[in-house]
C-alpha cells in the first residue's frame, strides 16, 4: 500500500513537472510576437491582468518575452544536454573498451574539464568561435560531458568484465557486436538519466552566459538578456522585470531536475534510498 502511494506520488510529480515544461513551450509558441512590438503607450507597466508580468521600458509584454526567451533556453539546454550525453557515451565507451592509452587520454581530458568551472569554459569557447548565438550554443554544448563520461566509463568497465560478456567474447563475437548488442542496451538508461540531469544545468548555464553579455542580439528574447537588462533598470524599481522571469526560470529548471531525479528512481529503485 505504501509503495503504491510512493509510486503514484512520483508519477504525479512527474506529470506536474512535465506539464510545466509543456505549458511553457506551448505558450511560447501561442503568444503572439506582436506583444514584443514596442509601444510608447505601454511603457514600464506593473503587472496587470492584461500584462501578467508587466511591460518593459519599451512597452513590450514581459510574459511573452519571458516565455519566448525560455524557449531559447530550452533549445540551447536541449542541445547542450544532447551533445553532452552523446559525447559522454562515445568517450565513455571508448575509454572503457579501446585500451589503456585511450582510457588515460580521456580520463586526463575529463579531469581537466571537471576541475574548471563550467562558466569559464563556456566563456572561452564562446570567445573562440566568435561570440554570438553560435558562441552560446557551442559553449553550452561542449562543456557538459565530463561527469557523465566518467559515470559511463565506470559502468562499461564493470559490464565488460562481467561474465556473460566474457562468454560472448569467447564465442568470437566482434567488439562492435559486443558494444552495440550487450553494452549499449545496458547503459541506455544511464544515458537517459544523465541526459535529463544535464538539462537543468545546461539551461542555467545558457541563462548565465547570456546574462554576462556574451552573444545574443537584443532582438532574440533570452532569459539571461532579460535579467541583465533588468539589472540596468533596477534603480527605477521595476521589480517585475527581474522577479517573474527568474521565477519561471527556476520553475522550469526545477521541473527538469525533478523529472531527472524521478526517472532515475524509476529506472533504478535502489537509488531511491540514497
Amino acid at each position: 500500500m505504501k509503495k503504491y502511494n510512493a509510486r503514484s506520488k512520483m508519477l504525479i510529480s512527474l506529470a506536474v513537472s512535465g506539464s510545466i515544461i509543456a505549458l511553457t513551450i506551448i505558450f511560447s509558441f501561442w503568444l503572439s510576437p506582436d506583444n514584443l512590438i514596442t509601444d510608447f503607450a505601454k511603457k514600464s507597466l506593473p503587472p496587470t491582468f492584461r500584462h501578467l508580468f508587466g511591460t518593459d521600458w519599451l512597452g513590450r509584454d514581459m510574459l511573452t518575452r519571458t516565455l519566448k526567451g525560455l524557449r531559447l533556453s530550452l533549445f540551447v539546454g536541449f542541445l547542450g544536454a544532447f551533445v553532452g550525453a552523446s559525447l559522454a557515451t562515445c568517450l565513455g565507451i571508448a575509454a572503457a573498451t579501446l585500451g589503456k592509452k585511450v582510457d588515460s587520454v580521456i580520463s586526463w581530458l575529463v579531469d581537466m574539464f571537471i576541475g574548471m568551472p563550467h562558466l569559464i569554459f563556456i566563456i572561452l569557447i564562446s570567445f573562440a568561435v566568435g561570440g554570438g548565438i553560435k558562441g552560446v550554443v557551442f559553449g553550452v554544448a561542449f562543456t557538459h560531458w565530463p561527469s557523465l563520461t566518467r559515470i559511463i566509463r565506470g559502468e562499461v568497465y564493470a559490464l565488460k568484465n562481467s561474465q556473460y560478456i566474457q562468454i560472448s567474447k569467447s564465442f568470437g563475437k566482434s567488439k562492435w557486436y559486443i558494444a552495440t548488442k550487450h553494452i549499449l542496451p545496458h547503459i541506455i538508461p544511464q544515458i537517459m538519466v544523465g541526459f535529463l540531469l544535464l538539462f537543468p544545468h545546461a539551461i542555467v548555464h545558457e541563462a548565465s552566459i547570456t546574462f554576462l553579455g556574451f552573444g545574443l542580439s537584443v532582438q532574440t528574447p533570452s532569459i539571461g538578456l532579460i535579467l541583465s537588462e533588468a539589472v540596468k533598470h533596477i534603480s527605477i524599481g521595476d521589480w517585475w522585470l527581474a522577479v517573474f522571469p527568474g521565477l519561471v526560470l527556476v520553475l522550469v529548471v526545477k521541473s527538469f531536475d525533478n523529472i531527472g531525479e524521478q526517472v532515475k528512481i524509476l529506472i533504478n529503485p535502489a537509488s531511491a534510498n540514497e
Partner: protein, 547 residues
C-alpha cells in the same frame, strides 16, 4: 497535482524570505548613508560629485579626440572660445586678426596664462600643439596649415595654404598642451592651464578635479568636483541615496522624483541615425584593412525608403519618452542647415512603393523583399553598452520590417564596430557647433579614416560644394555652400539626395541634480552628453535660495 505546484512555489517563496532573514542577521540595521543631509543646511557648497557616464571620452588628450565634445575648457585653454550664444571670442589669444584672403591668421597671446604646474604658457607650447596634431593627422585635420610663424614672444601667425572656413571652430577646440610635458602617457597626468586640474583618476571609477591655483581667469565657485564613472542605472541609485549632486539620466529615468532635485533639460543637435554604406560589397578595404561596402544599402532605394518610411516621432516617444525632436540631418538647427531637407516621414506606403518600383519585391512571401535573389536584409551594429542607441536600434528594426526590410541587430563594442562600420549599418551619432563634421562625414578623401565618412559617400557635386564652403572667405558664403551640399534641388548629401544616413532623432540632453546648482547659460548642446553640461562648470554657482 495542485499541491505539488504549490509546494514548488512555496519553495521559492521560502527561499526568498530565508534570504531576507539571513541578511537581516548578518547585517546590523543601519540608516541610509546620506552625506547631503548635512549639506542641506549649508548656505554654501563648494564641492560637487557628478556622474556623467562611465569614462572620460578622449582621456584628456587631443590626440585621442579630447576637445571634440565640448571638453576644452575644463582643465585646458584654447586660443579662441565660444560664448553661450556661440559667438567666437578670445581665450589664450587676447585678440586675433584674419587677412582679407583668409590665408593669414594673426594671434596676440595673453601673458598671464600658466599651467597647473606653475609654468607659463609660452608661444612655443601653442606652436608645438598645432604642429604635433597636424603631424598626427588622425582626428584633427590641419593639412592646410602651411607654417606657424613666431613673430615675437606674444604674436603668432598661422599661414594657411588655402582658406578654411572651419578653422575657427578648430581654434576653439584644440587645447593648448605643455610642450615639455607632453608624451604618450599624457592621459595619465594631463597638465593644462584651465580652471581645474586633474588630481586623481582611477580608471573606471572616478576622477577628482580641483581648482588650478595658477588659473588666470576668475576662480570657479566650486573648488573641487569628483566625476564618478557609473552607468546610468547606478548613477540614479546613487542620486536616490544622496551620494551625488548631479547625474546625467536616460530618458526612461527622467520622470523619477528626487526631493530637492530637478530635471535639467537642454535642446541639442546631438543626433542619432543609421549609417548606410553607399558602396557595393567587394569595394576593397579601408587603410586599416577592413572591408568596405554592403550590397543591400548600396541601393539608393533602400536608403531612401528607410529615410521616408521610418517613424521618427514614434522613436522620440518610445525611446526618448518624448524628450527629443525628430532629426533630418547632421546639422539640424545650425546656421548652415538647409531647411529644405526636412522630409515627411512615416510614409510607409510610399516607401513600399519606392522599393517595389526599384525591383525589391517579396516573391517568396516571407515578409522580406528580394531583388535578383538578394534579400533586403542587413545587420545593424549598435554599442550594447549604450542604452539609447540599443533602444533606437530595436525600434528601427521593428519599423523596417513593415517596409519589408529585415534588420538583424548586433550588439557590439567599438573595438569590433570599427572593423564592421564600413560594410554594415551602424547606429551612429554626431552633432557639432561647426560644419566641419559634415565635411568629414561626406568627403571621399577622408573615407575610411577613423570615424570619417564611414559610408564611403562619393558625390562629386556634394564634394565640390563642400570644398567651396571650406575655402570660402566669409561665413555667409560658406554657409550657402554647406546648404547646397545638403540639397541643391537635384542632388545632395541629405535624405532627399544620396541619403547615406538615415538621421532619426535629436536627443534632449537630460540631467538631474540638486535644484540649487546654477549651471549658468547653456548653449544648444552638441554630441557628447556628459561634457556638454560640464563645459562651463567653472561658471557654475550654488544658489542657496533655490528650493
Amino acid at each position: 497535482m495542485k499541491k505539488n505546484l504549490k509546494k514548488i512555489l512555496l519553495f521559492v517563496c521560502v527561499g526568498i524570505v530565508f534570504t531576507g532573514l539571513l541578511a537581516g542577521c548578518n547585517q546590523p540595521a543601519q540608516g541610509p548613508v546620506n552625506p547631503n543631509l548635512q549639506v542641506d543646511n549649508q548656505d554654501n557648497k563648494e564641492e560637487l560629485v557628478i556622474c556623467m557616464g562611465t569614462r572620460p571620452p578622449g582621456e584628456f588628450d587631443p590626440r585621442k579626440r579630447w576637445g571634440l565634445y565640448s571638453q576644452s575648457q575644463i582643465i585646458h585653454d584654447t586660443l579662441l572660445t565660444r560664448t553661450p550664444d556661440l559667438e567666437i571670442i578670445g581665450d589664450l589669444a587676447e585678440s586675433y586678426f584674419v587677412s582679407e584672403d583668409a590665408l593669414t591668421w594673426t594671434f596676440h597671446l595673453r601673458e598671464d596664462y600658466k599651467f597647473s604646474n606653475g609654468e607659463a604658457v609660452t608661444i612655443e607650447d601653442v606652436k608645438f600643439t598645432y604642429e604635433m596634431l597636424k603631424e598626427d593627422g588622425i582626428h584633427w585635420d590641419l593639412t592646410f596649415l602651411e607654417e606657424i610663424e613666431v613673430k615675437d614672444q606674444q604674436t603668432l601667425v598661422f599661414h594657411l595654404s588655402e582658406p578654411r572656413s572651419t578653422f575657427v571652430a578648430q581654434l576653439t577646440e584644440i587645447v593648448i598642451l605643455p610642450s615639455n610635458h607632453y608624451d604618450d602617457n599624457y592621459s595619465e597626468n594631463p597638465i593644462g592651464s584651465g580652471p581645474y586640474k586633474l588630481v586623481q583618476w582611477d580608471k573606471g571609477q572616478q576622477a577628482i578635479f580641483e581648482v588650478n591655483p595658477y588659473y588666470a581667469g576668475n576662480e570657479p565657485h566650486f573648488k573641487k568636483f569628483t566625476l564618478l564613472f557609473l552607468d546610468e542605472n547606478a548613477a540614479l541609485a546613487a542620486a536616490k541615496n544622496g551620494t551625488v549632486d548631479m547625474i546625467y539620466v536616460l530618458p526612461e529615468f527622467a520622470d523619477e522624483q528626487i526631493p530637492g532635485w530637478k530635471l535639467y533639460s537642454y535642446e541639442s543637435n546631438d543626433v542619432r541615425g543609421v549609417s548606410l554604406p553607399t558602396q557595393k560589397s567587394g569595394s576593397g578595404t579601408t587603410p586599416d584593412g577592413y572591408p568596405i561596402g554592403n550590397d543591400v544599402t548600396a541601393d539608393i532605394a533602400i536608403r531612401r525608403a528607410l529615410n521616408m518610411g521610418l517613424n521618427r516621432q514614434a522613436i522620440v516617444d518610445t525611446v526618448l519618452n518624448g524628450h527629443g525632436k525628430k532629426a533630418y540631418s547632421l546639422v539640424d538647427k545650425m546656421p548652415w542647415w538647409n531647411e529644405a531637407t526636412i522630409i515627411e516621414d512615416n510614409q510607409v506606403a510610399a516607401a513600399q512603393q519606392l522599393l517595389q518600383d526599384a525591383g525589391w519585391v517579396d516573391d517568396d512571401n516571407d515578409g522580406i523583399r528580394e531583388k535578383n535573389g538578394l534579400k533586403a536584409e542587413c545587420s545593424l551594429y549598435h554599442p550594447s553598452a549604450d542604452v539609447i542607441r540599443t533602444n533606437i536600434a530595436i525600434v528601427v528594426a521593428e519599423q523596417a520590417k513593415n517596409l519589408g526590410i529585415n534588420i538583424n541587430l548586433v550588439g557590439s563594442n567599438w573595438d569590433e564596430m570599427k572593423t564592421k562600420m564600413h560594410s554594415n549599418p551602424l547606429l551612429f551619432a554626431g552633432g557639432r557647433h561647426h560644419p566641419h563634421q559634415f565635411y568629414r562625414m561626406h568627403h571621399p578623401d577622408l573615407a575610411g579614416i577613423a570615424y570619417n565618412n564611414i559610408v564611403y559617400m562619393n558625390n562629386p557635386v556634394v564634394t565640390e560644394y563642400m570644398e567651396q564652403a571650406m575655402h570660402a572667405s566669409t561665413q555667409e558664403e560658406a554657409n550657402e555652400n554647406w546648404k547646397l551640399a545638403q540639397w541643391n534641388g537635384v542632388t545632395g548629401a541629405s535624405a532627399l539626395g544620396d541619403a547615406p544616413f538615415a538621421w532619426l532623432i535629436r536627443l534632449d540632453h537630460l540631467y538631474m541634480g540638486n535644484s540649487r546648482i546654477n549651471v549658468g547659460h547653456q548653449p544648444i548642446h552638441t554630441h557628447g552628453h556628459e561634457w556638454s553640461l560640464l563645459a562651463n562648470i567653472s561658471e557654475w554657482t550654488w544658489d542657496a535660495s533655490e528650493k
